[in-house]
């Protein structure tokens, strides 16, 4: 992996100088821009298109201590055929599980085109040794995960040890081999938008294929302004290096209305080129049923009760 910016990580000081040389983010202005885009009115044909687009971008996720093979198999069935009554509903992009359940998901999804993503690197805290993180990544990949969602060491980042964060991402990327690497910044712990921008660039320079907002275990998880800052980062990174990186907001996106706001944000920030599951994902679980409900409402003009949508 090399990018035109690889040399900025040649020492702690060059990396620090680069990240702190990025233009600042004014919180009030970023919040106002995200709020304004949230007022876009997406109706009729555009809403239909947006709902199907959003379904196809969902990373259907279960990350609980109580997850079982049965639970994962049920979720996989839902991922392939979200609405049993309507075959025109597209499958979701991927399912996202813990490493020990990757094999179960891979088996359940064989031949479906739905990818298996696994969290790794001592998700969600990331508080372990690099050896353990790399080994966990390798195990998940060996079990068949096509995508790895790693967490960065927020402690190291906040302590200013950017090179440590960088090296962990590089090592994880190496352990990924052909699997796609999504780097979770856990923006709720980074707190400032300046940090979000710096962490985004750090992850991209280190080789991330995707940058992802949150684990879903920390509040706040994904927010519109944080995603805005990350979309600006991938847009600028493409211009600077020629390499395109995807974005995944995760956690807290529960309604169709929310999902559409994110699509508008992508459309008017990074641009319509990012409106594809290869470049934009929505990490969510309960969102899918709301998308299905709104989709059915648009087709029939009526809302069906919640029992008409499967709980998995």
């Amino acid at each position: 992996m090399t990018t035109p910016l690889a040399e900025v990580a040649s020492s702690p000081s060059t990396l620090r100088a680069f990240l702190h040389g990025l233009p600042g983010v004014d919180r009030v202005g970023a919040d106002a821009r995200a709020a304004m885009l949230g007022t876009r009115s997406i109706k009729t044909t555009a809403k239909k298109q947006a709902i199907d687009m959003a379904i196809g971008m969902v990373d259907l996720t279960t990350l609980e201590g109580a997850d079982t093979p049965g639970k994962v198999r049920a979720m996989c069935a839902k991922a392939v055929r979200p609405d049993p009554a309507d075959a025109s509903v597209p499958p979701v992009a991927a399912v996202c599980v813990y490493p020990d359940l990757v094999a179960t998901a891979v088996e359940a999804l064989a031949g479906s085109g739905v990818k298996v993503a696994s969290v790794a690197t001592s998700f969600p805290s990331g508080r372990s040794s690099l050896e353990v993180k790399v080994a966990e990544t390798s195990l998940a990949v060996a079990a068949g995960a096509a995508e790895i969602d790693m967490v960065i060491d927020r402690g190291a980042f906040l302590a200013g040890d950017y090179l440590k964060v960088y090296e962990e991402i590089v090592a994880t990327k190496e352990a990924c081999a052909d699997a796609h690497l999504k780097v979770i910044l856990e923006t709720g712990e980074l707190a400032t938008y300046d940090n979000v921008r710096r962490a985004s660039w750090l992850a991209m320079i280190a080789g991330a294929d995707f940058i992802k907002t949150s684990t879903g275990k920390v509040s706040p998880a994904a927010t519109l302004p944080v995603t805005l800052v990350m979309l600006e980062a991938v847009r600028d990174f493409l211009a600077a290096t020629g390499r395109k990186v995807g974005v995944k907001p995760a956690g807290g996106i529960r309604t169709t209305k929310d999902a559409i706001k994110y699509l508008v944000l992508v459309n008017e920030t990074a641009g319509p080129d990012w409106l594809h599951p290869d470049w934009f994902r929505l990490g969510a679980s309960s969102l899918l049923n709301d998308l299905l409900m709104q989709r059915q409402k648009m087709a029939t003009g009526r809302y069906a009760g919640p029992d008409y949508f499967t709980l998995d």
Partner: protein, 475 residues
């Protein structure tokens, strides 16, 4: 591609009468003259209604009604006046959607702006000054400051209802009565406001609305029964008013033109600066007296900033002002469109480079695409004269001192914006810019608690905040 389907706000909510009279002494009355004027929707050129043209005799009637109401209104305890103002503010909120649609139809501004900016601010101004009505003794103008009498108020077409609120709310709070003349191209929300005064049971004669053009305005400001004149509009007309009122007892405040500098330093938050530039000059089609029409950008970041700005302008959505996704609406009148065209052509002729994003222009109505001029010099007309349209002139500077020098090198002084992440530089700049408002890492933000007004040829007097009371009190 992700195309947004049309999302028009329904215009059924507004009920426009075919013809309007004058609102005098709490009644709708017919003017004495025959002359009437059609007000059109600038986005379609469709005629919306006919309005009366008030002559001198009509203005006289209105001023007399206001004078008759003054003793009652000014003697009323402040807390009682506040009740009326709070009631008006609440009615405005309740009817906000209707008023927003009406404003958009008559003015051409996008519904997103009339709904999310104009109407909330209109209500906020009435709420704010309602709060002052019983606290005037504590405003810093003496123990018992007295009102002036009859205020003659003339307002422009760019923020019709908001400018009405800026004028009427402080005047009434202080105990004055008013005769207000809205602009000839945008009278409808002022006429709707007359109905709101009736709905609020405001005593007759406290608010009078007379429609008409320049002659009506002249008759109002020159009427001997008017004790206070407040004008918002062009510097040219402001100068005429100042001249005709010179040496007589009438108190005068003027809020006139501007040619504001929006100053971007190399350490600015660039993405937000781009938004601020867009909001500074393309908000309300650039029909904003405090618009950031001159972009001063530090040479070291000029190329990057302009590239980002042009990319952003490519996403602006121009078209049907009633569509909830429209960013740029129609130019308010054919006359204003001609003026914008003339100055833009002058910019090209003087050697500046003109650029606009690819953007389809509707067939009917008055439209002008967002336009950026680069390579502009201080000596160009487009860097000196107020265009009052969606046209940005870009200049560069090297040092903070040069930025201040260029920003201040204008006969105007209404507003300025500074973009830097360095607090000390921000304060250094703010203390040297000769402008009534200096925005820090933002632009075109308004709040009823904050005074607004100009230096130099941008006028005198302040509107908004505690300072805004002074114009309506005998101090």
């Amino acid at each position: 591609m992700f195309e947004y389907a049309p999302a028009p706000e329904s215009r059924d909510i507004v009920d426009i009468r075919p013809s309007y009279g004058l609102f005098i002494n709490g009644e709708w009355v017919e003017p004495q003259g025959e002359e009437r004027h059609k007000t059109v929707n600038p986005a379609t050129e469709e005629v919306l209604a006919e309005v009366a043209w008030a002559g001198e005799a009509d203005v006289d009637r209105a001023v007399q009604a206001a004078a008759k109401a003054f003793p009652v209104w000014s003697a009323m305890p402040g807390a009682e006046r506040a009740k009326y103002l709070f009631r008006i503010a609440r009615i405005i909120q309740e009817r906000a959607r209707e008023l927003a649609v009406l404003e958009t139809l008559d003015n051409g501004k996008p519904i997103r702006e009339s709904r999310d900016v104009d109407l909330p601010l209109v209500a906020a101004h009435f709420f704010y000054y309602a709060g002052w009505a019983d606290k005037l003794s504590y405003a810093g103008f003496g123990p018992d400051p007295r009102p002036l009498g009859v205020a003659g108020q003339v307002i422009p077409w760019n923020f019709p209802l908001l400018m009405l609120a800026w004028k009427i709310a402080p005047a009434l709070a202080c105990g004055n009565t008013v005769v207000l003349k809205p602009a000839e191209t945008t009278p409808l929300t002022a006429l709707a406001f007359a109905e709101i005064c009736r709905q609020a049971d405001l005593p007759p004669g406290v608010v009078n609305i007379v429609t008409g053009a320049g002659e009506t305005g002249a008759a109002l400001v020159n009427h001997p029964g008017v004790d206070k004149v407040a004008f918002t509009g062009s510097t040219e007309v402001g100068r005429l008013i100042a001249r005709s009122l010179a040496g007589i007892r009438k108190k005068l405040t003027l809020e006139l033109g501007g040619k504001a500098a929006n100053i971007v330093f190399e350490d600015a938050p660039l993405d937000q600066a781009v938004e601020g530039i867009v909001n500074g000059i393309f908000f309300n089609q650039g029909h904003v007296c405090c618009a950031g029409s001159r972009l001063l950008v530090q040479e070291s970041v000029a190329a990057d900033l302009l590239e980002a700005l042009k990319r952003r302008l490519g996403t602006l959505r121009l078209g049907d002002p009633l569509d909830k996704n429209t960013d740029i609406g129609a130019i308010n009148s054919a006359e204003q469109l001609a003026k914008i065209r003339e100055l833009s052509e002058a910019g090209e002729a003087e050697g500046a480079e003109r650029w606009s994003p690819a953007c389809p222009i509707p067939d009917r109505g008055y439209w002008f695409p967002p336009t950026v001029f680069t390579g502009v010099a201080q000596s160009h007309r487009i860097a000196r004269e107020e265009i009052f349209g969606p046209v940005l002139s870009v200049l560069t500077f090297r040092t903070p001192a040069e930025a201040v020098e260029k920003a201040n090198n204008t006969p105007y002084g209404l507003s300025a914006g500074v973009w830097t992440e360095k607090g000390s530089l921000m304060l250094w700049m703010a203390s040297r810019l000769r402008a009534g408002v200096v925005w820090s890492n933002t632009f075109n933000r308004f709040d009823p608690t904050s005074p607004f007004g100009g230096y130099k040829e941008s006028g005198y007097g302040r509107e908004g905040g505690r300072h805004g009371l002074e114009a309506y009190l005998a101090v």
